[in-house]
Symmetry: C2
Subunit: 252 residues, 2 copies
């Protein structure tokens, strides 16, 4: 396919099982080197929250968690492990919905998602994973490590899978970014007919995270991807820009 | 980039301004032929709602719309064209929120989105565009037309840009599909550690729509894209599968 515009997405494979303390940038850099095509300045490297959290030692052993009365009561009524419920409640700064066995919570970062981002699939037995403490910082650290090792700093996105109201299924979104602007703001630009585009702000980083998921799969061992050719806006952005302020949100 | 898994996304360019009655499949087929790489059976063709609606004659002339009292009152209070508000109300089967100048509505198809999907950017002056009457059917018609002209039937996704609660910016999602399953259901499959994946259903068609948007841009004339290498599940699916049933939705 020779036409422009054109994007390529390659899964980064052959990475070892990630453990706390691992140098994730070094491991991702090695996987990029195995692709054999180096890095280009406008590349985007998408890394899943799961391996970022693992490398940052964000695993919690459930047998060390003492559930509160609320966690015990709600967990037993909904057949969920009360210790897991306790971890979820501790990660939340606000509960948005707690119904039908589901907890939709606002995390300390401000993300609204199921289980306050606590991840209990594909973790070491008896443990769950918390979100990175500061996913933008995680992205910056990986970006700096890639720059040091490969000579080029790509945009870096830390991705996680979130559900959405009204729609079935989960999609990858960006929870941390470095070296790019997560939103592409077209307001004030003109469409081809000459109208000013009034309200068009695309969540490009979320779309790039979703695009990367297409090469990852859930059961495959592809925890990162390289996107080449995507016109994400350069700059010093933060995934916080993707969080709608409470006072502008009709659904908090 | 030589490694697998790998996806390529090419924007389909050089298409004329679409008018009511145009044979969209023929126009898309010609754009694919200009790419020079034919079609492969697992390709996905993503076509924006805007050109589908234009081809299907879904434009409404605002000067032929008589606003109701509600549309006049609400429009004047929020400085929105009462005739546009009237079209939005007619397209809705339920209003989810009507606040701060925004109308979030459930369309007759069941999609929950801003303005009941009524599109007023990049349309002919004095007109707005309604969603296709049956976007799955639109996708099927394009798919059949591509099969007839190019000898291969790709998956076809009709995409639109929707906002999300809690997150800034809009992302492309699938509102019509043909020749694929929009959801990838991993429930019952095992993760690499051997755990059964409990709740993982990925909205692959939405992620593919978002991926395609990365080559489209809002002001560029790229109203369709070809995705090659994406492991979307084959089959006879419907975008209705992407709509969460009201009784399972915590946010209706």
């Amino acid at each position: 396919m020779g036409a422009e515009p054109r994007i390529e997405i390659a899964g980064l494979t052959g990475m070892p099982e990630i453990r706390a303390g691992d140098d994730l940038a070094a491991i991702v850099a090695a996987a990029i080197e195995r692709l054999g095509a180096g890095l280009e300045p406008h590349d985007i490297v998408v890394v899943t929250q799961k391996i970022v959290s693992k490398a940052e030692g964000r695993a919690v052993r459930l047998d060390e968690v003492e559930p509160s009365g609320l966690a015990r009561d709600w967990g037993s009524r909904h057949r969920r492990d009360p210790r897991l419920v306790e971890v979820i409640l501790r990660e939340a700064r606000r509960i948005v919905r707690m119904d039908r066995g589901l907890v939709i919570a606002e995390t300390r970062h401000g993300f609204v998602c199921a289980n306050a981002g606590v991840d209990s699939s594909n973790t070491e037995p008896g443990t769950v994973l918390l979100l990175p403490e500061d996913p933008d910082r995680s992205a910056r650290v990986i970006r700096e490590g890639l720059r040091r090792r490969l000579g080029t700093a790509p945009a870096v996105i830390v991705s996680d899978s979130f559900g959405r109201p009204w729609r079935e299924g989960i999609v990858n979104v960006a929870i941390g970014v470095a070296g790019c602007r997560p939103l592409a703001d077209y307001r004030g630009e003109r469409d081809p007919v000459g109208h000013v585009l009034q309200t068009t702000v695309m969540a490009t980083a979320d779309e790039a995270a979703s695009a990367a998921e297409l090469v990852m799969g859930k059961t495959a061992r592809v925890p990162a991807a390289l996107i080449r050719g995507c016109a994400i806006r350069q700059g010093d952005g933060s995934a916080r820009e993707l969080i709608r302020p409470s006072d502008l949100d009709l659904f908090r």
